[in-house]
Amino acid sequence: MTSSRAQVYLWAAQRISAMVLGVCVLVHLITMIYAVRGGLSAAEILGRTRGSFGWAAFYATFVLAVSVHAAIGLRSILSEWLGVRGKALGAIVHLVALLLVVFGLRAVWAVVG
């Protein structure tokens, strides 16, 4: 059973990552709406992201915020709807977070590198 302290940190992490996501999602949506005007191509996207430190930083932040937020959110869902508890719950949640970070950053590298 996670300690009270750990629980407070999880809750705080969920709130903080939500704030970060609020900004990231807005920026992402505006960018997409702007980018989609007059059609969209891979070359056009890559033209914008390749070698850009700014986009790399932005999307890396987005990935990290998503990894934290989705993992903690899934934690509640798994325990409330499937009754998963204790060590199994912790293991699954950490795994999900890790997968999201790895695949997310890999995707960022793919469009930036």
């Binding site: 629980q7 407070v8 809750w11 509640s76």
Partner: protein, 237 residues
């Protein structure tokens, strides 16, 4: 005279709804209906009530899907299709018919440290607590809870997580956290933090919506979330 069709839960956890036909009367409450059934139609029906004037909370039951005080629920305001469905409070073991075992509800109250811990003795002067202080206003907003169980019955998280302390227990904890005379603040915050405590609340607000005393346990739980974070940041938790 028109009649009302009433379905009443009979049995324990397993059971079924039994149908009765009850004469419709003006200003009739749901408690009047249950009482009529027990007195005139089926004396084996078990149910709880005491004051019958909206003070004690004993008569809380689920009427057409919503938990409420049956003595304060006019039949006319529940439903206009002439059918009433009366069931026991949710999320509590059913002893018989409309009577539930409230032990878990009160055990969780104790687990949330819902008891006042005195710091003064009879030798000390009276504590002075100004009613206008923000802390006392927080207490006053939630102090009228009489432990009826309507909020507990209405809470989704209570249904999904058997360990969840529930809105009433945490509302009481919040009133004590804000009580300047109480001496167990740190232990109480530790008791209400976590998966079984305030952090499991999803702010659905069914408790606040259904509370017959118009208390908002959700607001109290939000306060506990802030207080536990503050305690961790200060190294007290």
């Amino acid at each position: 005279m028109s009649t009302l069709e009433v379905k009443v839960w009979r049995g324990g956890e397993r059971g079924e709804f039994q149908r009765f036909e009850v004469p419709r009367l003006e200003s009739q409450t749901v408690l009047d209906v249950v009482t009529y059934i027990q007195r005139h139609l089926d004396p084996t029906l078990s149910y709880r009530f005491a004051c019958r004037v909206g003070m004690c909370g004993s008569c809380a039951m689920v009427v057409n899907g919503r938990a409420r005080w049956t003595c304060r629920t006019h039949v006319a305001e529940v439903d206009d299709s002439d059918t009433l469905e009366i069931a026991p409070l949710r999320h509590l073991p059913v002893i018989k018919d409309l009577v539930t075992d409230m032990s878990t509800f009160f055990d969780k109250w104790a687990a949330a440290r819902g008891q006042f811990h005195a710091t003064a003795t009879r030798k000390d002067d009276f504590a002075r607590v100004a009613p206008e202080t923000p802390q006392r206003q927080q207490v006053d907003a939630g102090i009228e809870c009489i432990g009826c169980g309507v909020c507990y019955s209405s809470c989704d998280v209570v249904g999904w997580n058997p360990d969840y302390l529930g809105p009433a227990a945490m509302n009481r904890a919040w009133t004590l956290i804000n009580d300047v005379r109480d001496g167990a603040h740190d232990e109480r915050l530790a008791a209400v933090a976590g998966d079984a405590g305030c952090h499991a609340c999803h702010t659905h607000m069914s408790c606040a919506e259904r509370c017959p005393k118009h208390i908002s346990p959700t607001a109290a739980i939000a306060g506990l979330k802030r207080a536990t974070l503050s305690a961790v940041l200060k190294g007290k938790l």
